[in-house]
Symmetry: D2
Subunit: 492 residues, 4 copies
């Protein structure tokens, strides 16, 4: 390991190893090492164009940077006796070209703006990739829904059989939730993809830098303009973790259902062995482990959010070292979220739905009683609250046949359903699950015509979202390849 | 109290008082009581237009609803032996017009979609009002910044004197943060202002309802379409709390600085007595209590977010009663945030800045050393890292005069600054705080020309944001007044 | 409202109403109003005994304090234009006896030590009461377990049928968890029941006070000795909230099972109507609302803990006003926990277990396969991992009869079970759920002899715990009544 | 990598790599790998003694286990294609001695009880080590306090100069807090050091195991008795994280003060360079990074607690795979806490206190005004509230001399202090910081006689705590070495 170039001047004693380990962000910095080289290249291009650095010296530095960009970072830069990856790379650079040259790259910047830029570069990539994976998940949901617009199943409230619905309707409810998670990330990108570079320590710099140029080289949409805010603001990190936490909360609900549906009681779904484990002792077990771990990872991401807010709370301006401790929570949240989204697509795609069991349960537990009450209202003029009371009383008596209903009507409202014209046929038609679904054709409802309409609409949304992801991805890739091409010209 | 109309049919035993208190959401329902009447009016208008209810009966109900709308809710509806405000209002209605009429209002809906609609109606009002208050705070910050583009003060990193900056620069960093809080709320409104009504329990309804009509009456931008998602999705609540938590985290940082600046050590700010308290025992004390409580309320809002995520995690579809426990956290977070934003404007507006103390501290602690190093680089060709080392070593020796720098240069790099042409005059000019600020004129930097430009730009943003808030507010108010006018026609 | 006596001297302007409301802790202070009078009485007794106050003046003050103690606090003390209840009571006192007398009670103390003492007085009462309620819940669990040592039911892992167990075994697992919650609270009491009084603002006081005397009057076990720690330490609050959060987490698991067991799929439990609600739209519904809300309140208490830690983090010594914002979270957590514990006892006590359904499910899903594998090991000498493999393979083939097992044994291990002596009788005996339970008689296991032993042991623990609660309760009540008796003598 | 021995029987398809990585707990299992070998040895000793396994086979297995115990775990067991370390070790064992022998070790247990035991074995070690480190920190605080009983410094409330105190008093307040953290961990050990082994999957086992014997071999204080609770209860984990969170919250307060005291404004402390960093751009900077990161790590540990509660909430009995996701948070919290405690001792031990600056600030900001008010009460008979008002008004006028006080007395109470006998000498004596401290000799106060008494008392506590830690450590080490010795005899 090279001597840490930063400690030569101001500080005396060597740092004990436990202190060095405590202070080092190296473990988490692996996430931003690649971004750091891009940022170095951009900064050097700007120093050169603004004539802050001599072109010959710039060339010598750029050669090393491109070598690293092309061949990967040498292992020594990750030595955790460096405080961070920036020190590791600078030490390597100085080792290669000498301090008289390598010691000039850091002109007009500070690690404060450098690290903030690196985090944003990597985070936008991660979020956009996550959005791509989320799109796949949503497509799986919409596609599967499309196969099940006619698959009747019981809907639940309070985990009680409530009213019949369809599997399409149920799956589309998750697609709607994940669609909002997508939108939240897209909104966040607007606050993330802004460039802090040029803020230096927090007060910008006296060198004649060109912030817009660096920002554009790196594919940013604009500047994180106020330079004090640029280095010390981390709400973009908290917001990204919050996006992940919302998404995972939705995923945890689906996982809860997958676990529930996998139970022998319910048996609505059969998971692929690939997504399950057995027991070390109980040979018959096939456990929905992926869904359980995903439910557990919701806690992990929620904890990252809680950690982040606690950490940032009450920090004065501008940069404080506490912020270093924030970034690992970001990467942990992002990694947990991305892997969960991807596996959820796979798990659902490989699962088999037991539509017979669903049908069997659709009208259990008096789940069609609401429709019966509605029929009494719609076709026989009863006030809703009265019809609700009569049907409820009949359920309490244990049967929903005409005789029981007639008795309940007498008790509740002193009236006779038979006199009003209610017949056995009326009752049994109203209690048919398929009928109840067919009439629920309002927008967003379970009737096949409603879910088919919803699926068409959601496919349009998915297409637009896909274009957004592709456009964004392409634009960032092009910015990077253009910059590297320009940098290669510099060293010709 | 009227008998709870819901328990007549299905359930037998009376509910013990402790259970009733445990289940009742009445305390929090005060937040949505007004919204509930609006929702009732809209639903009744739709039932009438769709000919689901007889016009005569509708008129009788509407008379009571408008009476409540005009005169306020009668106290009895808040009896906490009702499960919720919806039951309280329905019981009152039935008491007034009889079950044969009043029992018909609930046709084609459920409390599940009703309460989700009420929460969204009230929440959008709260958030938009909060955004208005946030605008005022941002205006105070920009205006005060405008008075202090020339007020030099020390900037800090790690709470150490770091480099000189200006009060304008410092205040603008907070305006930038609060601006993003504004934007986050605006983005959230798009996901909040969608109408769940018509989702009924979760499966919509067999009545020929018109969801778009109700949504438009209530000023919604569209439907919360999938009806299962509409009643069980609460990510819009979590997102709103998260917005509040981000905002409060930013506020807590400003409060930390206000407390710090109020200390006798720093004395950068003098708060108005109105925002302070004294001690019950120490007669000399004047404490920055508002800032401290606000810092504390950050914990409250962060806790609300943590509570909310924990609560929603792992809930299966569709509605579960756990969700009732979520809403109080929303209102608590919104109330803490709104009161904090409003008070922060007042506190800052009434505070006096001690610019003499700021000037006095601007170059303390070698805060201008960075500029000196930069001058050695820019004007005398030293590599940055070498200049940084020389100046750091001189600081360690305790002085930044030419003699000490010369010694340090010899030790660090074996070179002579004097030989390079560095003079006493060069050193003292570089160490002048005002010089260091003047040259930091990159976008977002502290130089007066940079902050003045930033202020102009932010004023433009504030104007646009104000138009957004006004337009939104007007639109909602108009929707409501139009609906009430239509409702009055119904009862002519 | 009297003028706030604290603001006469130091502070100039009147406080605007919104600031007063923001600063006031009055809403939460209702929790400590009664404690405050006790603390006042104790402090005055001490001032008198130490001859810090003239006996005649003390008598005049004590008369008012006892009047309040006996008759309750006058409504005016709760006016929320006072910062807190302490100011409200002092203002009332001064109003009654004049400032020349009433203005002397605050000698040798500050609101900082006063409020810390009040919180501890109330909190110990609440926790001990909670422990009493927890004892009842544990008794319900142990008693119900005693009725069901022979009730076979399926045990689950991953929500999959795993192995048969008994209801006694299952319920005792919760009693064990709640027993630890009891122990945690008992441990916490040792850190809570210490007296801060005499710490004054944080530096104690120059008056010749007697801290041990006040502590003993108020029934404390000792002093919160270091006076700076006494007023600014709030880990006792965080610890109490943490105790509540652990308890609620355990309760949430039981509630999850109650909800699950109430579903039509499982039907292991039938709740009393008193603990359920119906739907406003679905007349057949009987929902386990109490269990759901309790699960939700887990989020509330977890949020209180998160709020508290966020709030206390990073506060410098000694008292900061942020701490005022902590106490409402304490009371909210305590109230949610106490009501939940009490209702859970009631709900379980009134529930009916469907033991037929439990028996029916006990051997479903190959739940007795583990025992079969164990029999192959124990009685036929197979290595465990081989037996596990054979049985697992047979399950995958769909049957656990001898023929299928024989085939699996050939595939997995190339051996013949029949050759080893395994017969149809061996297989069917091993697959009998009752057999599997009977042999699981290790301590803590499900065999009736093990659960009966456990029940006897837990009853002994419950008796000891009950004595602890009673002794503590009596001791505190005696301290209070002794103090009041002494105080009455003072005014004779 | 060996084939995973668990998947041979029940499950068909191979697991895709991303699923394997998602499910694997291998990264966190490094924490328990050593413990797992101990648990294997104990289990095998018991199987042998109970004659569940043939002695010859036991010997063959034990040879491999002891080889691993002595020489360390082979790298292959950590292959993350195994679900966990238990599978890795079992596969290695089977590879060494064949399935016919190695496949017998898992008799009478499950990974569920195995992993719960391993976590408890490692956790008790970690907590006891943490308590040892905490003792060192407390000793540094007490020792340093002993050197500073006469070091006068300002005490603060609301970060305002409040009253003089001493550095000893201030440091002892932290020792008191850390003492409670120690006690909480000691209390937790009683709930952690209980043995789950024998619980198997959750229903114990039909083998004639001896749970007490295994527990005693492994140095446990008793059994985690109920076997369902033993495998699914994780409140001991949450409690340990909570202990860490409380400790870190206290540490964060001290760190906040260290950062504040290091600022150029305050300059109360000079940190050793070893615990500081400089800036990459500002050569003069010496930043208190260790204290800042420690403050930040408070967020990390708080987040772990929040994650854990969220994760465990609502899990049904018994084991669910979600729990696997909990353990990494435990180790992360423990590691952050232990390293923080150790570094805090080092940092404080190496810091220099600037007692001149402290003295200089002791009476600044009218910090001795309380004592003056008290003197007016004690020696001149004024009611406290009146004296408080007079002194407060004089402070508002800007001076605490007799003339100003006389004027204030007239305004506030219409009286003359001069007439009462107050002189210039009285006023200046009362305003002397040393006087104010000398009279504050109540227990726990800042007077040297009080702090010296406190230091002696705390040293006694520290000695007792040290004995506790040593006894515990020795007992665990002896249990382990005895067990290994017995195991070696088995293979003779």
């Amino acid at each position: 390991m090279q001597r840490d170039p930063l400690r030569e001047g101001r500080l005396g004693s060597e740092r004990p190893e436990d202190v060095a380990a405590y202070l080092s962000s190296m473990a988490a910095d692996r996430w931003i090492a690649g971004a750091d080289i891009q940022v170095d290249v951009a900064h050097l291009m700007m120093l050169t164009r603004q004539e802050i650095i001599d072109p010959g010296l710039a060339k010598a530095i750029m050669e090393v940077l491109l070598e690293i960009h092309d061949g990967g970072l040498p292992a020594t830069v990750y030595d955790d006796r460096y405080e961070d990856i920036h020190a590791g790379i600078e030490a390597y650079l100085i080792d290669r070209v000498g301090i008289d040259i390598g010691g000039r790259l850091h002109m007009g910047r500070s690690r404060n703006d450098e690290v903030a830029t690196c985090i944003r570069v990597r985070l936008r990539e991660e979020l956009i990739a996550c959005m791509g994976e989320l799109l796949e998940l949503r497509e799986v949901l919409v596609t599967t829904a499309g196969q099940h617009t006619g698959t009747i199943m019981p809907g639940f409230t309070h985990l009680q059989h409530a009213q019949p619905t369809t599997l399409a309707h149920h799956l589309l409810s998750y697609e709607a939730a994940f669609g909002r998670d997508f939108d939240r990330m897209r909104d966040s990108i607007a606050r993330i993809n802004l460039c802090p570079l040029g803020a230096a320590a927090f007060a910008s710099t006296g060198y004649p830098i060109d912030r817009e140029y660096t920002a554009s080289l790196l594919g940013f949409d604009g500047l994180a303009e106020n330079t004090m805010d640029a280095v010390s603001g981390r709400d973009f990190v908290l917001e990204a973790i919050s996006d992940c936490a919302m998404l995972m909360t939705a995923a945890s609900r689906l996982c809860e259902e997958i676990v529930f549906w996998s139970s022998a009681f319910v048996a609505f779904i059969r998971l692929s062995d690939a997504y399950c484990s057995t027991s070390s002792i109980m040979p018959q077990k096939k456990n929905p482990d992926v869904a359980e771990i995903m439910r557990g990872k919701t806690g992990t991401v929620a904890g990252a959010l809680s950690a982040g807010i606690t950490l940032v709370k009450g920090l004065p301006m501008s940069y404080n070292r506490d912020l270093q401790e924030l970034t690992p929570h970001l990467w942990s949240a992002v990694a947990a979220t991305r892997s969960s989204v991807a596996l959820l697509s796979g798990l659902l795609g490989a699962a088999a739905f037991n539509t017979d069991r669903m049908a069997e349960e659709a009208d259990r537990g008096f789940a069609t009683a609401t429709e019966l009450a509605d029929v009494l209202v719609r076709d026989f003029g009863l006030p809703f609250r009265t019809a609700h009371g009569i049907v409820g009383r009949a359920v309490r008596k244990g049967r929903l046949d005409l005789a029981t209903l007639e008795g309940a009507a007498g008790e509740i409202a002193g009236l006779s359903l038979v006199d009003l014209g209610v017949t056995d046929g009326v009752v049994s038609a109203a209690l048919d699950a398929a009928y109840g679904i067919r009439v629920r054709r309002a927008p967003g409802g379970p009737a096949p015509e409603a879910t088919e309409r919803a699926i068409r609409e959601r496919q349009r949304v998915l297409e637009a979202d896909l274009i957004w992801v592709r456009t964004r991805t392409d634009r960032l890739e092009k910015a990077l390849s253009d910059m590297i091409a320009d940098a290669r010209e510099l060293i010709q």
